[in-house]
Symmetry: C2
Subunit: 297 residues, 2 copies
Amino acid sequence: MSRVLVTGAGGFIGRPACALLRERGFEVIDVGSPTSTETTYQVDLLDARAVDELVEKAAATHLLHLAWITTPQYWTALENVRWTAGSLHLVDAFRRRGGQRCVVAGTCAEYDWSYSRCIEDETPTTPATLYGTAKHALRLLLAAYAAQSGLSFAWGRVFFAYGPGERQARLVPTVIRGLVAGERVPCTQGTQRRDFLFVDDVADAFATIVASSVTGAINIGSGTAFSLRELVERIADKLDGRERLEFGALPIRDDDPPELVADVSKLTSEVGWHPRISLDVGITRTIDWWRAKAKPS
Amino acid sequence: MSRVLVTGAGGFIGRPACALLRERGFEVIDVGSPTSTETTYQVDLLDARAVDELVEKAAATHLLHLAWITTPQYWTALENVRWTAGSLHLVDAFRRRGGQRCVVAGTCAEYDWSYSRCIEDETPTTPATLYGTAKHALRLLLAAYAAQSGLSFAWGRVFFAYGPGERQARLVPTVIRGLVAGERVPCTQGTQRRDFLFVDDVADAFATIVASSVTGAINIGSGTAFSLRELVERIADKLDGRERLEFGALPIRDDDPPELVADVSKLTSEVGWHPRISLDVGITRTIDWWRAKAKPS
């Protein structure tokens, strides 16, 4: 039986990914941060000796490494460097312990955002942020390491995941919680077009990639861009709140590109994966989740 | 007084670099590998806790990080990944302890070798080897980290250093030792043109960069290419051994590019550094060093 070690297993993508990997017949060793209450194991992945012990105990054939900084400042946090170093150590320890296939979470922030449609191995990777640079450098190095060592390695570049469990401060939770609470919701003009994918679909794409033998960078997106305005209006329509949206109340940041969308040719043709959850269904599920959470228990 | 922590201080470049930094008024904390007999401190730089202790004790304002894998297999060694992780940890620990300026050794192997004259921030950096990729990824990440944290950071790309203390298996020591021993020396045709720099000059360039405030990648070379044949013949002429050179006895490797030379505009204009030791003097000193070493003590 294949045993997969999943880091960030208590996180936004990790939680559904563990469930989906179990459904596919994997034995899952789910690891969360030292304070996680939702995972079987809690390990500080920046502690090399703790990682060595974990890897030894896990004796996994597969690794799905999703853990990273989870603070809102992750774009600029200096901890990006420590997570890169820790990730290198984890993958190396995993392979030395007999691990065969490793899948790591990347990001669309690796790409040069002056290109709107991002294509693996074609669109330039010149990240504008420390976070994007850390992920880019990690991928470069792991790809070369894998080529040299024979490790099977894939890198899933996540675009814009939304759904239950997303951090409150982000767009979709902010809009839903504001409207559910009966408040007015200030927004930008919302002209920015993004590739949104429901978090269970992101997790399913990762689980599919783990179970496959496809290597290299793989965009994880829907392949279709919606404007933020369109997304927010769809949410509002389900909450009877369109008139409480204040478009233009917030400025669009200078570094916010007009469009970012994943080219999903590799995901659909090589991995053979397609999204299962429409934007409409995804939004409904997300609203339901936040409503349930808001209820006094 | 400025205190500089030097790693790889017992090595080929590190040894002369420490002496030159002391001449410039730096207090030098010289660190070698755990087996080094030539340095005041011996630390395993892949042991995070040992590095933390070292950095705490050193309380250095400057860091010159030269240490890396020293085995002949460094081009392909999987340990490149561990050295990248260890280097990230070292620099982060140094800055967090109050370190202000950091200079790290890079390599011409970061460049795409289909370009013969390599220019910083212009020639593509698409390394062909795991070693080159590790250094490239490390530089990318440290540059972004430095920009974010305010650390002053420079990266010295070493081309072809030669001189006393070079590993025996490399070209110059092999030729000198063979000719000194009266043997015939098999060579390639020697048409490959390379940018050679005497190791004391490489060390002096590093010491100058450490003491400067120049940031970013800086090529460390002479700016001039000589063919391997020319280099080897110059050595042979000093050892009366030209007829014992067997050009063409060894094949030129397919991945050996015809010419690699440093563009030294940045080194000469921004750092204000120029080589002090001619190829002729450098060869003489290197021969003398190997001769002294060959004598029974």
